[in-house]
């Protein structure tokens, strides 16, 4: 995580063309450049800037956005709310869907259901998110049906739950983008367990199929399930960038894109840090969950 923050900072600083110049434009006077630089703290040595930034992070001060001078935290705040909402709803739908689809495909492997599901997930998993988004927009907003808005227009200060209709397409896009991917992984893990020796042994012990499934197969399938869930969420975190842009959804993904266009360093750094942090935390949680679930690892900790 530390290294990640280093990279973020380093990347934004190391390359030529600093922030001050990009704000004021090419024709800026050297004096105004120097003044702005001083104001932004860009004339201090690099490591000091880094230190200030990091300590700022921990104390909640992420600097001021270069685009509009507001504190970054303020700008982030509302957008974060919107994005979190989006992600949560998408997660709530896609996680169970992915797990169940994968598990059922594994249970009925090689059946017609499995074959069709397999091909469908393969195709859908390959598509870029914005393709899915645009296609859905085309289908439901413009050409075929006219029921849902393709562009989200909101007022400032109003919570996301006031706009249910606007949610449908972005959520749907995210779900369609993520579920095929995770259900395939789930299927593979489940198949591996269903064909393992001890499951066969349980059958040979004369246990009923239901018991075999629930007492023997599922507990051992929990570890891959957690990993799949974490993967799912992480993938969503990456996906919101594009999806929000497609639908003009006011979340941190679209904010990131705007900030990059405007070379708004502090904001970019902040958002990047946030998303990356989320990624890392999720992976850590998945690993932790795996340890808790596996008795072998658990007892070696005792």
């Amino acid at each position: 995580m530390f290294a990640a923050s280093l990279i973020i900072f380093g990347a934004t600083q190391a390359l030529p063309g600093d922030a001050a110049r990009s704000i004021l434009g090419r024709a800026a006077q050297p004096e105004s450049l120097a003044a702005l630089r001083h104001q932004l703290g860009l004339d201090k040595p690099v490591w000091q800037q880094y230190w200030e930034w990091i300590s700022g992070v921990f104390s909640g001060d992420l600097g001021s956005s270069l685009a509009n001078g507001l504190a970054v935290t303020d700008v982030l705040g509302e957008r974060l709310l919107y994005s979190s909402f989006l992600m949560l709803i998408a997660a709530a739908i896609s996680i169970p869907f992915g797990i169940v689809l994968g598990a059922v495909s594994a249970r009925k492997r090689d059946s017609a259901f499995d074959q069709t599901a397999g091909v469908a997930t393969l195709g859908l998993a390959a598509l870029p998110e914005f393709v899915v988004g645009i296609t859905l927009a085309v289908l439901f907003s413009t050409t075929v049906f006219h029921i849902l808005p393709s562009v989200v227009v909101t007022e400032e200060g109003v919570g996301p739950w006031h706009y249910p209709k606007e949610f449908v397409l972005p959520v749907l896009t995210l779900v369609i983008a993520v579920v095929p991917y995770t259900s395939r992984i789930m299927r593979a893990s489940t198949v591996e367990i269903l064909e393992s020796d001890f499951v066969e042994m349980a059958r040979l012990k004369g246990l009923s199929e239901r018991r075999v499934l629930w007492r023997h197969a599922v507990p051992n399938a929990l570890a891959p399930t957690f990993q799949v869930t974490a993967l799912n969420l992480a993938y969503l975190a990456g996906g919101i960038v594009v999806v929000e842009t497609v639908f003009n959804y006011p979340g941190i993904g679209s904010l990131l894109v705007e900030s990059v266009r405007a070379r708004d360093m502090p904001t970019v750094q902040a958002i990047a840090l946030l998303i990356t942090g989320l990624y890392v935390v999720l992976n850590l949680l998945a690993d932790l969950a795996t340890i808790l679930v596996s008795p072998r690892l658990r007892t070696s900790l005792e």
Binding site: E195, S196, D197, F198, E200, M201, A202, R203, L204, K205, G206, L207, S208, E209, R211, R215, H216, P219, N220, V293, S294, P295, R296, T299
Partner: protein
Amino acid sequence: MSVAAPAPAPALEVVDLRIELVDGDREDIVDDVSFLVAAGEVLGLVGESGSGKTTVGLAVLGHTRRGARVGRGEVRIEGRDILALPALERQQLRGKLVSYVPQDPASALNPAMRIGGQLDEALSQHGFGSSGADRRVRIVETLGEVLLPSDDAFLRRYPHQLSGGQQQRVALAMAFANRPRVIVLDEPTTGLDVTTQAHVLETVRDLCAAHGVAAVYVSHDLAVVATLATRVAVMYGGRLAEVGPTGSLFRAAAHPYTRRLVEAIPELSGRHALVGIPGTAPRPGHRPRGCFFSPRCTYVRDDCLETPPPTARISPDHESRCLRHAEVMADSAVARRVAVPLPEVVADDTLLAVRSLTASYGQRQVLFDIDLLVRPRECLALVGESGSGKTTLARCVGGLHVDYTGEVAFRGQPLAPGARAREADTRRQIQYVFQSPYTSLNPRKTVGQIIAQPLRLFFSVRGTEMWRRVREALERVQLSGTVLDRYPHQLSGGERQRVAIARALVAEPQLLICDEVTSALDVSVQAAIVDVLAELQRELHIGLLFVTHNLALIRTLAQEVAVMSEGRIVERGPIDTVLDSPQAEYTTRLLADTPSLEAALAASGSGGGAPTVR
């Protein structure tokens, strides 16, 4: 001892069983299998890989692997055909009427469930007792029978917290808990060390006798079967070759395959020569039209090639599937080929000298102060059980393990640890053959390329000269030149091991280190490889360091033997001395615990299975 003839309504009766593949041409995996087992009797189901014995064992439970189904036949347990029952009823019978002990207990126990729970489940699923307390009583009883503790702390353990032997006993306990009528054991002692194996076998025998259970013991190890079983059924290519009482079957086999099998078993006494069987067993779909064994049979006649031979009844409980069974029986009863005595080793100098060798894996020390000597043209057998350190020692000598102190000297010159640090010529002179032929050859290279590689490296020969030497090496291991263009996966295990030996030979070494080179192979193939090695040693006068856990195997091969236990050499000396009059207590125990065909036959007289091994 138990009765040889079947009692009324035998506990287990298999009639005309056929199991076939689900897709494709519905080729059979096994066909025409019929046998009986009486209550309290142990039937040994014997065969090499590909014989179908495991499939038959599973079928006794009414179960087939994915991709296979029952084509025909009945499996009657106490008169009831379980194959004819609906799936639900069959499932209810498993674990209660007929149960199964798997080969690998570690993978057969649920890693996420405590063993107390798994035992309890075995009982509760079949409606035993009316409460948890009732079940607990039975659990304690059964655990006691398999000599395991039954206190709370033990029951709360997970499978990975038990040793291999303990896991296997838990599996046994689970199988016996419901007092079934029939039990199928699938090579349950594979991977256990000899002493544990002896215990487990004794437990099985006692339990079967005590509860009147009919047992089917599936195994490829004839020595083990001879000590345990009253009757034996030999399978080959998915068919039964011969069924009969243990003593008669082994002493005077009525089928050529059985006979060859017996001749391939290594003996502690070393009186007889080890003879392998050339060729490989046919896989489903590639089986010959007439008798399956005909391509490899020395008794083959024209009428063997047309149709499979009918079952011939030699006595009420002894049958054989061979047209010439009478002749075979007569020949088998006569003494076997006597072993060729090993050449005497006369040499003053030393080929390999190991002094004060102490080796570790990180923190763990595995070898303690080892001293060892191998003279030129001598074969030294390094014997021990798993964990004794013998492989580590071989690796240190071969330059594959570097974490050691002490000296390894070759021809008087101390060697650097690690092959890379040694001179090229030294590397050439010490060659290593690995245990598993399935992983010691590069799957992406042809046999020719594999064998040619050391030539390129050590001798910088190319072209015709190189290929000439390659062919020469192949000839020495008795492989034809047609394998040159083949890939390892197209060869059998025995052939692959020969290629590995050829690769070592081509470097013209002085010392050949063989690390358990026969452990992954079938008995008949094992004998052939040992044969090849013995011949090589005679002709090429190379020194041989032969590592194995099979005591009996070395009799026909080694002049000297060193016995290892827990990282130390406990006894060493000429082979006759050590095996016939062992000094160390460990050696004596090892010899006593090793199942031996001769011992079993000698002790039992003319009847069924042998009494206690010790």
